[in-house]
């Protein structure tokens, strides 16, 4: 039985899930803030791509670094964490059949987050924070830069506390029976990782703030990097956990999928919690002061157990879709289930493309670049952003876009205009991100540095530069950037139009992406008990097996090719 307050909840007309109206208000508020930060970050992205495209070279040096700082902070922190708080509020209430713990606490968190983010953006735009996202000392920014980040981090911690408290009251009031739903479990994993991450953030940002005020004399560069990356890389693992939770959620909503084996999925989330924070090492592999055993243990997340977790989710999500599709009768051959999937539903298209891009590009490159020795031929080159644009943009952001196509009609209760554009948007965005990411990765393999204004080194006392092939790939980066920006803009325009000017569909079910009968069939398949037929199909998922083995072979080829490339460079130890 739900513990909702009188008159402060409704039942979703589409999914039948309960919606706490207080949670709904803050889901909306955080989602709107998230999309605004996303817009700022996207405009910055376009300007950066057009500067890195060496034939265009749009911005002057100072504005390049300024806009790059803005881009990193708005995309990697403000957009994505704001959206994740919306997901936590949803998962904690609708999935656990509970009310939100506290409206007041939610207000405090929201105000701190928005004010903090605006402070940082303001300081960066007036040119007092040209320190890039990482703000490595001795580079120093205005004190309000650090304070803004602290505000945002504390706000996030408070929101996460509100989520934990919601989980607590749901459990206390027995609002659900048995174990919590898998998506809520994934959200809980993301929240736990967020706490660890944000504590690192506080540990490094508070002394930095005091240092910028002149109250602390010296910040050690190596210490800062070690602790900052306890914020910088694990915060991306909040995204991974949240993204995987969204994969499971959307797979259910768009195809009626349910996990084959709950134990496996939940264990994989536990692996994230236990091991993923070690990845602070990923950016410190060629640093002084840290020895090889520390680097090897930490960069591998303790023997790659967090990688194992992602490889598991990369199997279970498509496999669960395959089973649901086969139960619907799409049983012909190996891939009939996939070709008959709802590709015109932007929710489905987004998450499936997200899985593919995250696995094939983001995952494979990430593990390879994070190999202790291979990092020597990758550190601080464009290969690094080539990796994380595939994970955070092609993976997380695309999955969140897919979710938004359902959040707007189900939570905001508004209908979209120009639905045809929404149906093609995931494909435009995904192809842009793929080109961008490949352009970066290949340019980086020539040694082209990341965060660099002019790879022709115009005016340098000793000349340097790259051959035509590297410049070609910078062109691919630029074109990919334009395409991805176009996709992002379509998403933003459609969402803003729907949220502020869309026709209200309160009280009606939403079937804008798939016909009502298809949705009904999916939900019927979902709510069936796991009978013998289900288990029979679940034991043998040939399509998914083919997909994951193609992934494994690509992985091996890329991995060993990199060892070969490393073996060819100068000897060093």
């Amino acid at each position: 039985m739900g513990n909702f307050l009188e008159g402060r909840y409704r039942t979703c007309n589409t999914t039948g899930l309960p919606v706490c109206l207080d949670a709904q208000f803050f889901i909306k508020a955080h989602a709107v803030a998230a999309v605004v930060f996303f817009l700022i970050g996207a405009i910055a992205a376009l300007l950066i791509a057009l500067t890195r495209w060496s034939a265009v070279h749009l911005l002057p040096a100072m504005w390049f670094y300024r806009v790059l700082t803005l881009h990193g902070l708005n995309m990697l922190i403000f957009w994505i964490i704001s959206f994740e708080i919306a997901i936590l509020y949803f998962a904690g209430t609708s999935l656990l059949n509970s009310r939100l713990f506290s409206r007041k606490v939610a207000w405090v968190a929201y105000v701190l987050m928005v004010v903090g983010a605006l402070m940082v953006d303001y300081i960066v735009l007036i040119g007092k924070g040209d320190v890039l996202m990482t703000s490595y000392p001795p580079l120093k920014a205005h004190p309000l830069f650090y304070l803004g980040i602290i505000f945002f981090a504390v706000g996030t911690l408070i929101a996460v506390f509100n989520f934990f408290a919601t989980v607590y009251i749901a459990r206390r009031d027995k609002t659900y029976e048995g174990s919590m739903p898998l998506v809520a479990y994934g959200a809980l994993a993301a929240a736990i990782i967020a706490v660890v991450t944000l504590l690192h953030g506080a540990t490094v940002m508070i002394p930095s703030f005091l240092w910028s005020l002149g109250l602390v004399e010296h910040i050690d560069a190596g210490w800062y990097r070690l602790v900052w990356w306890g914020l910088g890389h694990p915060s991306q693992q909040i995204n991974v956990a949240a993204m995987v939770a969204v994969w499971y959620f959307m797979a259910t909503l768009t195809t009626g999928a349910k996990p084959l084996n709950e134990t496996v999925c939940r264990a994989a989330f536990v692996f994230y919690i236990l091991f993923i924070n070690l990845a602070s090492a990923h950016h410190l592999l060629v640093d002084p002061g840290l020895n090889a055993s520390w680097k090897i243990w930490n960069t591998s997340y303790a023997m790659y157990l967090a990688v194992l977790a992602s490889m598991i989710h990369g199997f279970t999500v498509p496999a669960s879709i395959e089973v649901a599709q086969r139960l619907k009768g799409f049983t012909r051959g190996i891939f009939n289930w996939l070709t008959s999937a709802p590709w015109g539903d932007p929710g489905f298209a987004s998450i499936f493309l997200s899985i593919v891009i995250f696995g094939f590009i983001g995952g494979i490159t990430g593990v390879t670049l994070g190999t202790e020795q291979i990092n020597i031929i990758a550190h601080n080159t464009l290969r690094i952003p080539g990796h994380f644009h595939a994970t955070v943009v092609g993976g997380t952001t695309l999955a969140f876009m897919g979710l938004t196509y359902y959040v707007v009609p189900l939570i905001f209760q508004r209908d979209f205009y120009f639905k045809k554009w929404a149906r093609v948007q995931p494909y435009i965005f995904a192809s842009g991100v793929v080109l961008l990411s490949l352009g970066m990765s290949f340019a980086g393999s020539y040694g082209v540095p990341r965060r660099h204004w002019d790879v022709n080194f115009t005016g340098a006392p000793l000349s340097a530069g790259f051959d035509a092939a590297a410049h070609f790939f910078l062109g691919v980066l630029g074109i990919g950037g334009i395409l991805a920006f176009t996709g992002a803009l379509i998403f933003i325009v459609l969402t803003v139009l729907a949220v502020f000017f869309g026709k209200s569909i309160a009280g009606q079910p939403f079937h804008g992406w798939q016909p009502a009968e298809k949705f009904k069939l999916s939900m019927e398949i979902f709510s069936r008990k796991k009978d013998e037929k289900f288990e029979q199909i679940a034991h043998k998922v040939p399509g998914t097996v083919v997909l994951v083995f193609v992934l494994l072979i690509s992985f091996m080829v890329y991995y060993f090719a990199n060892w070969k490339a490393l073996a060819d460079v100068w000897w060093v130890r």
Binding site: M62, A292, Q373, N380, T381, Y446, W563, V572
Partner: protein, 174 residues
């Protein structure tokens, strides 16, 4: 289940294809893990992180002494310095140059000390593409053996201010 509580008997081992994949993935993870200690002992390219504390002023002094004793020429007004094979070499990262130009011999091993006297820098040798982090306060020692001849460009790949793209250097290998 994804959006509903699972049936109460959900705790059970994986079966069928899922079990196969979990097993295969675990084996692959172990292979990747063991590759790193293997390469640490058998491979020729490693990042051991050997380093010593040094103040920027002290490091600058050592660099100047190194240049005075080993200077063999000049290029664009920048000293070209040839350390003795097997000996110590110094390279200073500074906004915005790598100082001095180093002249090394192919197949010889050097202890290359790199540090910064101001911000963080990134030591990147092109076109062979090897990269190491350079921090103020840390004397980062690379035991380096050039295995190819030529003139190599050193660039900075850690953001160090508005003139970041002007920061270049050179290593000549004969």
């Amino acid at each position: 289940m994804s959006i509903k509580s699972p049936e109460s008997n959900w705790f059970k081992p994986p079966e069928g294809s899922e079990r196969l994949w979990v097993g295969v993935a675990l084996v692959w993870c172990m292979v990747m893990f063991l590759a790193m200690p293997y390469w640490h002992f058998k491979g020729k390219q490693n990042s051991t992180g050997e380093s010593y504390a040094v103040t920027p002023a002290e490091f600058q002094k050592r660099v100047n002494r190194f240049v005075e004793t080993n200077k063999v020429g000049e290029k664009n007004g920048i000293p070209v310095v040839e350390p003795s094979p097997g000996g110590d070499a110094y390279l200073m990262g500074q906004m915005w140059r790598w100082y001095p130009i180093l002249k090394l011999k192919e197949g010889q091993t050097y202890r290359l000390h790199i540090s910064s006297v101001d911000l963080q820098h990134g030591f990147s040798v092109l076109p062979i593409n090897i990269n190491f982090q350079v921090l103020p306060g840390y004397d980062h020692v690379l035991t380096l053996t050039p295995t190819s001849k030529g003139i190599f460009q050193v660039i900075c790949n850690e953001f160090c201010g508005i003139g970041h793209h002007l920061m270049t250097g050179q290593i000549i290998v004969e």
